[in-house]
C-alpha cells in the first residue's frame, strides 16, 4: 500500500504508471470538480472499475452540521454548486458504494448503488481489554509538543492513558463521534434520560468523547461531577481504546424526516438515517452493551443490543435495565464481540469486498452492452446462414411413454453389463496386487455396449440390404 498525494494529476506518466496497476479506482466523497471528473472519465475509458464512496447525505445536510456552509450555502463559490457537482461526479462513476441503502436510493437515478458496511480493522480490536468496572476508567491523550520533539518523528506518537481519579467501580455510559451530531442529541431526547439516570444512579457517569463544544448547553442538564469529557481527535488505531472504556455505549439519532433533495430521494427518512452503522459495529467489536435509536442504519445490528424510540422514557428504561443487569448485558456483549470480530471486521470481509468489486465491474460491463464469454449468442435477424432443410413446423409426437425407469433400455445393455462384471470377477485378472478386472469394468461396459450397438446396426443394415455382406469382417467404428 502506498499513498499518492498527486493521484489526480492523471496526465503525469508516473501517476498513470502507479494507478494503471489497479483494476478498481475508488474516489471518496468529494467528486465535485472538473479535474476529478476528467480523471474518472480517463480511467473509466481504460476499463477500470471507477467507484465513488459516500457515507453522508450531503444533499440534505442540516444547518447544525459544520459542512452545511460548504455543501448547501456553497461558501467556496463552486460552479456548479456542490450538490449538482456531486451528481455530475457520480455520473462519471460505474457505481456508488455506501454503507446505507437510503443514500444509495437517493442517487439511484444517477448511478448503480451497492451497499457495503463500514468495518473496522480486527488488528485494532482483537487485543482490546474491555474495562472491568472494578478497574479505573482512563482518559487518553498524547504527549505535548515539547515532549513530542524528543520522540522519533517517523513513529506515531504514543497514546498516554491517564487514570481518572475515583473512577474505580464507576459505570460509564459513553458516546464518541464527530462534530456533526448536535441534532442527534437534541432530537433523540437522550439527554433528558441521562439526567434522570445520573441522578438515580450516583455511581454512573456519562462520558462524551469529541471536540464539539456546541452541545455544552445540553450538558448543563447533567450533574457536573458525573459528566466526563474525553477531548481530542484520536487516530483510528487508538480509538478502540476509548470505546473499550465504556460500560454502556449510546447511539442517538435524529429521526426528523427530511427531503433527500435528489431526483430519486427517499421520503420519510432523516438525515441521520443516511449514516452508517459504524458506531454499533465499534461497540460490538469492543464488547460494549449499547442502546441506540431505532432507525434505518441500525436495523441489521440492533438486535444485538437495544433499540429504542426517541422518547426520554424509552431511553431511560433501556439504560436503567442495562445498569441494573449490567453483568448479564456485559456477558452477552462479550459473546457478541467474538461474533463481531469474525463478521464485522475488514479482514474477515476482504474476500467479499473483492467479489463485490468484481460484481460491480461485471454489471457495469453488461450495462454497456458487453456479454459473457464462452457463449454463443443467436440472433436470427443478423444471421447470414440459416439451414433451410430444417423443417421446424413438423414434429413427431413423443417416441416414449410410460415410466422412464421402465422404458427404452437397449436389449444388449444387460449383456454388456454382465460381460464386464464377469471380467471383473475373473480371479486371474490381476497385476501388482490390483484387481484389474474390477478396474476395467467401467470402460469395458462402455466398450461392450458400443460393440453390441454397432453389431446390431450392421445386422439391421445387412437384413435391409439382403446382399449377404459379412458383418464381422470389418473393424468396428467404436472409441
Amino acid at each position: 500500500m502506498y499513498y499518492l498525494r498527486s493521484a489526480l494529476d492523471w496526465h503525469n506518466p508516473e501517476v498513470q504508471a502507479k494507478l494503471g496497476w489497479a483494476d478498481v479506482l475508488l474516489f471518496q466523497r468529494n467528486v465535485i470538480g472538473p479535474e476529478i471528473w476528467d480523471a474518472m472519465s480517463y480511467w473509466k475509458a481504460l476499463r477500470k472499475i471507477v467507484l465513488v464512496d459516500l457515507d453522508d447525505g450531503y444533499s440534505c445536510i442540516p444547518a447544525s452540521n459544520p459542512a452545511f456552509p460548504h455543501w448547501i450555502l456553497n461558501t467556496p463559490g463552486l460552479d456548479p454548486d456542490p450538490v449538482p457537482a456531486l451528481e455530475e461526479g457520480l455520473r462519471h462513476a460505474d457505481a456508488l458504494i455506501a454503507p446505507n441503502r437510503v443514500l444509495l436510493q437517493d442517487w439511484a437515478h444517477v448511478v448503480a448503488g451497492y451497499y457495503w458496511q463500514n468495518f473496522p480493522s480486527i488488528l485494532d480490536y482483537q487485543d482490546l481489554q474491555p474495562r472491568d468496572i472494578a478497574n479505573p476508567d482512563y482518559l487518553f491523550s498524547y504527549p505535548d509538543a515539547p515532549e513530542l520533539k524528543k520522540l522519533n518523528p517517523d513513529e506515531p506518537p504514543p497514546l498516554l492513558q491517564n487514570e481518572r481519579p475515583g473512577s474505580k467501580g464507576r459505570l460509564v455510559i459513553g458516546w464518541g463521534g464527530s462534530i456533526s451530531h448536535v441534532d442527534s442529541f437534541v432530537y433523540s431526547h437522550v439527554v433528558e434520560a441521562l439526567a434522570r439516570i445520573l441522578k438515580e444512579f450516583p455511581h454512573v457517569d456519562f462520558k462524551f468523547c469529541g471536540n464539539d463544544d456546541r452541545l455544552d448547553f445540553l450538558w448543563k442538564e447533567l450533574p457536573k461531577d458525573q459528566f466526563i469529557r474525553q477531548n481530542g481527535v484520536l487516530p483510528r488505531k487508538d480509538w478502540p481504546q476509548v470505546v473499550s472504556q465504556f460500560s454502556i455505549g449510546i447511539a442517538p439519532m435524529d429521526m426528523r424526516p427530511v427531503e433527500g433533495k435528489t431526483a430519486s430521494q427517499v421520503n420519510n427518512y432523516s438525515y441521520d438515517e443516511r449514516r452508517s452503522s459504524l458506531k454499533l459495529t465499534e461497540y460490538l467489536c469492543a464488547g460494549v452493551p449499547f442502546v441506540a435509536t431505532r432507525c434505518h442504519p441500525y436495523e441489521e445490528l440492533g438486535h444485538l443490543g437495544k433499540l429504542v424510540e426517541n422518547t426520554p422514557d424509552a431511553w431511560y428504561n433501556a439504560l436503567r435495565e442495562r445498569i441494573l443487569g449490567y453483568d448479564h448485558f456485559k456477558t452477552e456483549a462479550m459473546k457478541n464481540r467474538q461474533w463481531a470480530l469474525k463478521k464485522l471486521t475488514i479482514e474477515n470481509n476482504a474476500e467479499r469486498l473483492i467479489r463485490l468489486y468484481a460484481k460491480i465491474g461485471e454489471e457495469a460491463q453488461a450495462r454497456t452492452g458487453l456479454r459473457v464469454p464462452n457463449t454463443t449468442f443467436v440472433n436470427p435477424e443478423v444471421a447470414t446462414e440459416i439451414d433451410e432443410t430444417l423443417h421446424v413446423e413438423e414434429l413427431d409426437p413423443p417416441f416414449w411413454s410410460g415410466h422412464p425407469h421402465e422404458v427404452g433400455r437397449a436389449p444388449y445393455d444387460v449383456k454388456a453389463k454382465k460381460g464386464a462384471r464377469d471380467v471383473a470377477r475373473e480371479p486371474w485378472m490381476t497385476a501388482a496386487d490390483l484387481e484389474i478386472g474390477s478396474i476395467l469394468e467401467y470402460p469395458l461396459t462402455a466398450k461392450l455396449n458400443q460393440i453390441y450397438r454397432e453389431h446390431e446396426r450392421r445386422t439391421e443394415e445387412a437384413i435391409v440390404a439382403d446382399d449377404g455382406r459379412a458383418i464381422a469382417d470389418q473393424p468396428l467404428e467404436t472409441t
Binding site: K417, I436, I451
Partner: protein
C-alpha cells in the same frame, strides 16, 4: 481425487490436511485457488514406469494365451472373439493395467516416504481411476471416503454400474441419495447425510448474480420470457433410449415450445457435451427464428435469468436451479426420473408448453431441495469436513 463437485472442500480441508490429488489438472486448479497440493506420481522415475509396464505385460501375455485357448467375451459376437478381440481388448488391458500399476506405485511411494495417507476422498467410486485408488486404500487399511458427485436418479437397486460401492463410507447429499445407496447395498453405518458441498454458495445471496444483470450479460432484455434448457448427453455405461435421435427430438421439442410461447431459449449445455453442440443448437435456433444464447458455463446467471428451466432428464442442475429459486420442468428421458412424489412437472414432451406455464412463477419446492441437499442450509462444506475428520481421526 477431486472433481469440480468437491472444489469447495479443498480450502477447508487444506487447513487440516496436506492434500494430494490424483491428477495434475486438479493440482493446477487448486493452485489457481491459491492452494498448494501434492500430485500423486508427479515425478515417477523410469524404473517405476518400467515396473508398471512389466506388470501389465505379464497380464496381457496371459490374456493373449487365453484368447488363443478360445477365451471369449461373447461367443455370438465376432468382435468379442479371436483376432478381433485381441485387436482391442489386449491393448485396453495393457493400458489399464499400466496406469493402475503406476497409480499404485505412486501411492505406495507417498505412503511410505512422505508421511502416509490418513484417508482417501473420492468424488465417484466406479471409474477405473477411482477403483485403483480405492483398492490401494483398502489394501493398506486407509479409509476410503466417497462423496458422490451427483444424484443418479436411476431405478434404486439397479444393475447400473453407479449402484456399485467401492468405498468404505459414503457422505450423501440428502435423504433421496441415502435411500438410493441403501437399496444399492450400503449399510446404514456406512452412510452419513452431508449435503452437496458445491451448492453451498447458492445459499449466499451475494454470490447469485442479479436477475437484470444476468439477463443483460446473457444477451436478453429485462422483460423477455426466458426458458432455459439444461441439456444432457448419453454415456455408454448404460444404454437407454435412441441416443442422439432422442436428443435431437428433445431439442426440437424444446424450441418448438419456445416458439409457441413466444419465449427466448437459454441453452445450458452439459460440460460433458462436445463443443460442436454449440453449432447444432445455433443452427436449430436460427431455423426456428429464435433469439437466445448457448453456453456450458454461467450456471448461476442461468438460474437467475431464466423464468423456467427445462431439464433434459432429471438433472442435478435442476436441484441447483431450485435452490437458487428457478422453477424447473423435467423433459423425460428413458432410464432416470426425479421421484414423482415431489411433484416436479414432468412430460415426455406432449404437454411441455403447459408444464412450462404451470411452473412459471411457482414457489421453491422446499421438500425436494431438502431431500436432495441436506439440510437446505448451505452448510454442507462444514459437515463434509467434520465427516472427513471423523473417519480419519484428525
Amino acid at each position: 481425487m477431486g472433481g469440480p463437485s468437491q472444489t469447495s472442500l479443498w480450502k477447508p480441508l487444506s487447513e487440516l490436511f496436506q492434500l494430494v490429488v490424483a491428477d495434475s489438472q486438479a493440482a493446477e486448479h487448486a493452485a489457481g485457488l491459491g492452494l498448494r497440493v501434492g500430485v500423486l506420481g508427479a515425478a515417477m522415475d523410469p524404473p517405476a514406469i518400467e515396473q508398471a509396464k512389466v506388470h501389465a505385460l505379464e497380464l496381457s501375455s496371459h490374456l493373449l494365451a487365453k484368447i488363443d485357448e478360445v477365451y471369449s467375451l461373447d461367443p455370438a459376437i465376432p468382435h468379442m472373439n479371436g483376432a478381433f478381440l485381441k485387436s482391442w481388448y489386449v491393448p485396453m488391458v495393457f493400458d489399464q493395467a499400466t496406469t493402475a500399476s503406476l497409480r499404485l506405485i505412486a501411492a505406495e511411494k507417498f505412503h511410505s516416504e512422505d508421511g502416509g495417507f490418513v484417508g482417501i476422498l473420492l468424488h465417484e467410486d466406479v471409474t477405473e481411476a477411482s477403483r485403483a485408488i480405492s483398492q490401494f486404500g483398502r489394501m493398506r487399511g486407509i479409509p476410503v471416503l466417497h462423496i458422490p458427485h451427483a444424484n443418479h436418479f436411476l431405478q434404486p437397486g439397479t444393475d447400473d454400474i453407479h449402484c456399485q460401492i467401492n468405498s468404505d463410507f459414503i457422505g450423501v447429499y440428502g435423504e433421496y441419495m441415502r435411500q438410493w445407496y441403501l437399496k444399492c447395498g450400503a449399510s446404514e453405518a456406512q452412510i452419513e447425510l452431508i449435503g452437496g458441498a458445491q451448492w453451498d454458495d447458492l445459499y449466499d445471496k451475494e454470490r447469485i448474480p442479479e436477475r437484470l444483470h444476468s439477463r443483460r450479460a446473457l444477451g436478453y432484455k429485462e422483460d423477455d420470457f426466458i426458458v432455459a434448457a439444461a441439456t444432457t448427453w448419453f454415456q455408454d455405461t448404460g444404454v437407454w433410449g435412441r441416443g442422439n435421435e432422442d436428443l435431437e427430438w428433445m431439442a426440437h421439442r424444446f424450441l418448438h415450445a419456445c416458439k409457441k410461447l413466444n419465449a427466448k431459449p437459454l441453452i445450458k449445455l452439459n460440460p460433458g457435451e462436445p463443443d460442436e453442440r454449440h453449432k447444432d443448437w445455433m443452427d436449430t435456433m436460427l431455423a426456428y427464428g429464435l433469439h437466445g444464447s448457448i453456453s456450458k458455463w454461467h450456471n448461476e446467471m442461468t438460474y437467475s435469468a431464466a423464468d423456467v428451466m427445462v431439464v433434459f432428464g432429471p438433472s442435478n442442475l435442476g436441484v441447483a436451479a431450485q435452490i437458487a429459486g428457478c422453477p424447473i420442468v423435467e423433459l423425460m428421458i428413458p432410464s432416470a426420473r426425479y421421484p414423482e412424489a415431489y411433484g416436479i412437472p414432468a412430460t415426455w414432451g406432449d404437454e411441455l408448453e403447459d408444464c412450462i406455464l404451470a411452473a412459471r412463477g411457482s414457489a421453491r419446492n422446499d421438500q425436494f431441495i431438502r431431500d436432495m441437499n441436506y439440510d437446505n442450509d448451505g452448510g454442507a462444506v462444514k459437515r463434509a469436513v467434520d465427516w472427513v475428520r471423523k473417519h480419519t481421526g484428525v
